[in-house]
């Protein structure tokens, strides 16, 4: 089967980022179709498609929409374009090359929950992208597809962009809402959840969806839930963008049906392990998820289908599918130290276990990396990491523990080499 490009349509239609080209190829037809349906019917259709959130958690999108109480007069759709997980670069390509499909998907979500406005929260580093996205929104507004009386339906909904300013934590939905309200990007205590009165943006019920999730929606409206479910697996339907980085010949974004094997992704699409090396480890969901150990390029684990359910079975998570590939020469203690520096820098400081935990993990890892570590240091960081889990307001504390717990568990020999001095001391660069 030829590759099906639901998300990256620019591969089939050059210049689809331009409104006239997008319109010529069926653009905004799904929105017009949705506007003729009842909002509840749109939610049911997306529910039936079993589209799952592409930001990492994999929560069913239609179910999320159905949590919004219809009785509230003010509601919001917030698009999470804060893409900040190490190894993730898929949403940027969508906003750059297929922005109207994102705008259209956001408006369909807005119609489904009867939202009064859409806010697209982009990470601050997407400065240039936000400028061009503003232009695309304005182009659509001039054609009557955004703003007042959308497509002659009498329904009004404006789409706005908002730039963050460099904080990973703002990808966490409640911290994102805080940031949009002009506050420090720190997670909220829940309940109330964003879907409830008091928990969303400006206290109003809000749906927060990832860019890739919403970009799927127009296709589902146009083609129906049954067609969508023919792609991928029963529990993980549709295509997914896999961001491949690290030690492969051709790093990049690959849109493939969910259920494609990791082997096909790495060896057929991404050109195999760079420089003819053997595969040692894969972080399938950026820095946040458990690292998977591989015994070279023939390891049968490579035949694992990439779905939410299959990656859970092998002790990891698919998450946002940010596949970081590491070859045989990679020192996993260095990987743990590097990721820990990331989380230490990005911890917002609100919850003590995360703020202090990441700090001490980093300090102790520095000692281990410098060749001054003792055996009890490894037990110490494992203990600190375990005690960070389940006791913080958001998942960052949980994520920050994973690289420690799973590198120690899956690559004990690398830690041993650090302690007995076989591995040369190294200063790990980072904040």
């Amino acid at each position: 089967m030829a590759n099906l490009n639901i998300i990256y349509r620019e591969k089939d239609v050059p210049n689809i980022h331009e409104l006239p080209v997008y319109l010529k190829h069926g653009g905004y037809d799904a929105l017009k179709k949705a506007l003729k349906m009842k909002p509840a019917e749109v939610i049911d259709l997306v529910k039936a498609s079993n589209l799952r959130g592409r930001g990492g958690a994999g929560f069913p999108t239609g179910v999320k929409w159905s949590f919004i109480p219809q009785s509230e007069p003010v509601k919001y759709v917030v698009v999470n374009a804060d893409e900040s997980e190490t190894g993730t670069f898929k949403d940027r390509q969508i906003i750059e090359n297929n922005p109207h499909q994102l705008i259209e998907g956001s408006l369909i979500a807005a119609w489904a929950i009867q939202a009064t406005a859409v806010y697209i929260y982009l990470r601050g580093e997407f400065w240039d992208l936000a400028q061009s996205l503003d232009q695309h929104i304005e182009d659509a507004r001039k054609k009557g597809l955004v703003g007042d009386n959308i497509a002659g339906s009498g329904w009004n909904c404006m789409v706005y962009t908002h730039l963050g300013a460099g904080a990973y934590i703002c990808g966490e939905e409640s911290a994102l809402l805080e940031s949009l309200e002009g506050k420090l990007g720190m997670p909220r205590v829940r309940p109330p959840f964003p879907a409830n009165k008091g928990g969303g943006l400006y206290g109003e019920p809000s749906v927060i969806n990832n860019v890739e999730t919403l970009t799927n929606v127009p296709w589902i409206i146009n083609n129906g839930a049954d067609e969508y479910k023919k792609i991928g697996t029963e529990q993980s339907p549709g295509t997914k963008v896999f961001c491949v980085s690290g030690h492969v010949e051709k790093p990049g974004n690959y849109e493939l049906p969910l259920g494609t094997t990791l082997r096909e992704l790495l060896f057929t699409h991404a050109g195999g392990i760079a420089n003819g090396k053997q595969l040692k480890g894969v972080l399938p969901s950026g820095g946040s998820g458990p690292v998977i150990r591989f015994a070279g390029n023939d390891d049968p684990l490579l035949d694992t289908p990439m779905t939410y359910e299959d990656f859970a079975k092998i002790g990891s998570i698919l998450g946002s599918a940010s596949i970081i590939v590491m070859d045989e020469d990679t020192d996993m203690t260095w990987v743990a130290a590097k990721i820990t520096k990331f989380f230490k820098h990005e911890s917002c400081g609100k919850c003590t276990p995360c703020r202090e935990g990441t700090y001490w993990l980093d300090k102790t890892l520095d000692r281990i990396m410098s060749g001054q570590g003792q055996e009890k240091d490894v037990d110490l960081i494992a203990s600190v990491a375990r005690n960070m889990q389940g006791v913080t307001l958001c998942a960052l504390g949980e994520f920050a523990a994973n690289p420690i717990i799973y590198t120690i568990k899956n690559f004990p020999e690398d830690f041993k080499a650090r302690l007995d001095g076989t591995a040369a001391p190294v200063v790990v660069a980072g904040h």
Binding site: E83, S84, E85, T86, G87, T88, F89, D91, R92, R123, G124, E125, F126, W127, D128, Y160, H162, L163, G164, A165, G166, A167, Y168, S179, L180, E181, G182, K183, L184, G185, Y202, C243, V244, S245, G246, H247, P251, G252, N253, L283, G287, S322, I324, V325, M326, T330, V335, K338, I339, F342, H345, E346, C348, A429, G430, H431
Partner: protein
């Protein structure tokens, strides 16, 4: 004064949100653009515009890394040295860059043209080593590619200095390509 100079921009920003406070981050970008960094003057003006206390505005500027609390060089080079980039040589690239410019992490070159620092993931892992220069992406880098770029920016900075000399009196023109 930001309120006069950027009146239409500020009006549009306020029109986007139901609360004034939501405008604090976009307005801080404007202050940074105007003053080169987030100084006390900018903080006071933003606070007045958003009906906030200057301390609250300062805390926002301190929390988010893209607001600079110190003056920077004309070109602010932010090199990603996070895991995915580091696997493709970003640490070495950054070390070479610092050595070439003769500065440490976070430092500014003597001529005031470049400030370099390393930053966390910029969502361009497939094009490593990479960086942002005044928030514009520059990708697939090595020193061979970097040196001519640095020369080019240095020349641009020199020309801008030349051009600015006689016209220093009317410094009110809104910059078009500068950092936010």
């Amino acid at each position: 004064m930001l309120a006069e100079k950027y009146a239409s921009k500020i009006e549009y920003i306020f029109s986007k949100y139901p609360t004034k406070r939501s405008a604090v981050m976009p307005l801080l970008y404007i202050a940074q653009e105007e003053y080169g960094y987030v100084n006390d003057e900018g903080v006071a003006e933003v606070a007045a515009l958003c009906d906030m206390d200057p301390t609250q505005v300062r805390s926002i500027a301190g929390f988010y890394t893209m607001y600079s609390e110190n003056p920077k060089g004309k070109y602010w080079l932010q090199v990603c040295t996070d895991l995915a980039c580091a696997l493709r040589g970003a640490d070495k690239f950054y070390a070479d860059l610092k050595e070439y410019l003769g500065v440490d992490d976070g430092g500014t070159t003597e001529d005031g043209v470049f400030t370099v620092e390393h930053v966390m993931c910029l969502a361009a892992c497939d094009k490593a080593p990479m960086m942002q220069c005044n928030f514009h992406f520059v990708e697939n880098l090595d020193m061979e590619k970097m040196v001519p770029l640095l020369d080019h920016w240095r020349e641009e900075a020199a020309q801008a200095n030349e051009a600015a000399k006689p016209a220093k009196a009317k410094k009110t023109k809104e910059k078009s390509d500068s950092k936010p």
